[in-house]
């Protein structure tokens, strides 16, 4: 009987929460908001990190760009042959690509050229090469687009083809041959794949030039060695290895999450104001109530048990609510607003699917960051009052 759960105490605790409606509501509101934001950030971060990791794995090992006075210029295609001669290099491909700004929708597309008899530097392009007849894409002047691109074009009523505006102001009509699938969404969402000839026309790139050269090295250990050799032959180039890219991807990502961090800190701040308010002392009614309970025979631990129930019920309720909202927000509604803060490397505002990653660790982390802190912030000041002489408190 001693260990039986005291339902009257729980009833009293629930009653206490309901008695102070507006205060309880405020606490639940802020608490829910906090857990919601916190959980959402973790959920989104997890999903994006997952995407990012898979994306980085698909990046070229080495990219060679021509640089003049710090600016990127087209590189001579001839360089490919010289690079191929470097020991350790297993393949080198001249890429023709660019960012095309679609003013109508205010977004950038990444336009990438591939060729029929060329080894592809991305798995997803290999898939395109095997799925679509590249010679036909070439002759019919068509392209394969990512999901985001397709939707953006559809929104502007381009269903069959798209008109690119060339540097000289004339139009280039390119048919949409299909939509392609990639391993990761970040990689494919804003990408358009077409023949190199078509790209050359759209961006006005000469036959002898390419945007950059991607280099494959058989043994990843040798990447730094290959990088320094290319640098020797072509001092006027910038050479980016996948490691560098990983870092800069991470940077973009971290910078963006920084904006969010600010938002988060604000809500955290509010949370701590509540805690501060609570721990800085109880209201005179709250003190009196504890004093009365003591005076009619409640022990200190009866009072603290009641306060524990009270704070646990309210904080766990808010926690559950916050996590529930966050699940719905991130995975069902795909995190509107917040997603834009995190995603969109080429400012393509399109539907990026957050992969569902159920992460118990996140739930535990958020739980331990909120619920026990709140309970402690409730119990400690109550404990201070409860251990005072009852007579002092109710006088």
């Amino acid at each position: 009987m001693k260990n039986k759960i005291n339902v009257y105490l729980i009833e009293y605790a629930i009653n206490a929460i309901l008695r102070q409606k507006s205060k309880s509501f405020f606490i639940v509101f802020v608490f829910t908001l906090l857990t919601f934001l916190l959980t959402s950030v973790f959920f989104i971060t997890n999903s994006i990190r997952y995407e990012l990791d898979s994306t980085v794995d698909t990046l070229p090992q080495i990219i060679v760009q021509k640089i003049k006075a710090g600016r990127h210029y087209d590189i001579d295609v001839d360089a490919v042959d010289n690079i191929l001669e470097i020991a350790g290099v297993s393949d080198a491909v001249a890429r023709v690509w660019g960012y095309y700004y679609f003013a109508n929708a205010g977004v950038n597309f990444s336009v990438v050229g591939i060729e029929q008899y060329e080894n592809q530097y991305k798995n997803s392009f290999d898939k395109i090469a095997s799925k679509f007849d590249l010679s036909e894409i070439d002759s019919k002047v068509s392209m394969v687009v990512g999901h985001g691109v397709k939707e953006t074009m559809h929104d502007s009523y381009y269903k069959e083809y798209f008109n690119f505006i060339k540097p000289d102001g004339t139009l280039k009509r390119v048919n949409i041959a299909g939509v392609f699938e990639a391993d990761t969404q970040l990689e494919s969402n804003d990408v358009i794949v077409m023949s190199k000839d078509t790209i050359r026309e759209i961006f006005d790139i000469d036959e002898s030039k390419a945007t950059d050269i991607v280099v494959k090295v058989a043994n990843p250990e040798e990447i730094p060695m290959v990088v320094s050799k290319i640098k020797l032959i072509y001092p006027d180039t910038r050479i980016i290895s996948s490691e560098d890219l990983k870092v800069s991807y991470q940077n973009i990502f971290d910078y963006k999450s920084g904006i969010f961090l600010a938002l988060f800190i604000i809500s955290l701040f509010t949370f701590f104001i509540i805690i501060y308010d609570k721990s800085s002392g109880l209201s005179s009614e709250e003190k009196r109530e504890i004093g009365i309970l003591k005076a009619i025979g409640w022990r200190v631990d009866d009072v603290l048990k009641e306060k524990f129930y009270e704070s646990f019920i309210i904080s766990f309720f808010a926690y559950t609510l916050g996590v529930g909202f966050s699940f719905a927000y991130v995975y069902i509604f795909q995190a509107p607003i917040l997603q834009n803060i995190f995603v969109g490397y080429s400012q393509l505002k399109t539907s990026f699917e957050l992969p569902f990653i159920f992460d118990l660790q996140t739930l535990f982390l958020v739980f331990f960051l909120s619920v026990p802190i709140y309970i402690a912030a409730t119990i400690i000041p109550s404990w201070k009052v409860a251990t005072l002489e009852a007579d002092e408190v109710i006088r």
Binding site: E289, G297, E389
Partner: protein, 223 residues
């Protein structure tokens, strides 16, 4: 039996200022006795009551109830002592205004976690006895002063304590309600409870069922 032995109680207002609320008080109250403490405001009546109820501790001296040194009890044991032995009717009633009559009355039972039927039984007994049954579900804040006092009396009796303490029980009542309270007191006395009342209300003087009137003056008992 309640014994106060050489009780002194001082309150420290600050480092240099002290109030001597009780000065070497000796007092014995027998079982079943009804004692009225009289005296001017500030004389020390409430202080005596709170010492008997173990709501505070003497600066020196001992409070002994049924041969137990109440004044030496650690806080948690003092709570249990109150719960098992004391029914305290406070001057300002000390009810929880936002709870219902019923919830207030059963409050002393809550930590005991008794079976539901026991709670109902005890509640019904005191609610009937002190004529508040019809308002069981009313919120205390909305009750009249007399009704609130009856709730306070019911709460003090819900555990059927041996000792009843009332501090200025008629201070907030009109004459009719005060006479009502005196009738209740007569009934409680008939139940053979030990009763200690602090008051300066003349209505309590020379009542036939009061065993003793004790004059408190400046922290001392005048016999």
């Amino acid at each position: 039996m309640i014994e106060l032995k050489n009780i002194t109680k001082t309150y420290e207002l600050n480092k240099n200022d002290k109030v001597v609320a009780l000065d070497n008080v000796n007092l014995t109250i027998n079982e079943g006795e009804l004692v009225v403490l009289k005296g001017a405001s500030g004389s020390g009546k409430s202080t005596i009551l709170s010492l008997i109820a173990a709501l505070s501790k003497p600066t020196s001296g001992e409070v002994i109830v049924d041969n137990k040194k109440i004044s030496k009890l650690p806080d948690n044991f003092a709570s249990v002592y109150r719960r098992d032995n004391i029914g305290f009717i406070f001057q300002k009633y000390n009810l929880i205004p936002t709870l219902s009559v019923k919830e207030n009355i059963i409050l002393p039972l809550v930590p005991l976690n008794p079976p539901a039927n026991e709670i109902v039984e005890k509640l019904d007994r005191v609610a009937k006895m002190f004529n508040i049954s019809h308002k069981k579900d009313a919120i205390v804040r909305n009750l009249s002063g007399g009704e609130q006092q009856r709730v306070a009396i019911a709460r003090a009796n819900v555990n059927d304590p041996k000792i009843l303490i009332a501090d200025e029980p008629t201070a907030n009542l009109d004459e009719k309600l005060s006479l009502n309270f005196i009738e209740i007191l007569r009934e409680l006395k008939a139940l053979n409870k030990t009763i200690v009342i602090a008051t300066h209300d003349p209505l309590f003087f020379d009542l036939d069922f009061v065993d003793r009137e004790i004059q408190v003056h400046n922290g001392k008992i005048i016999l």
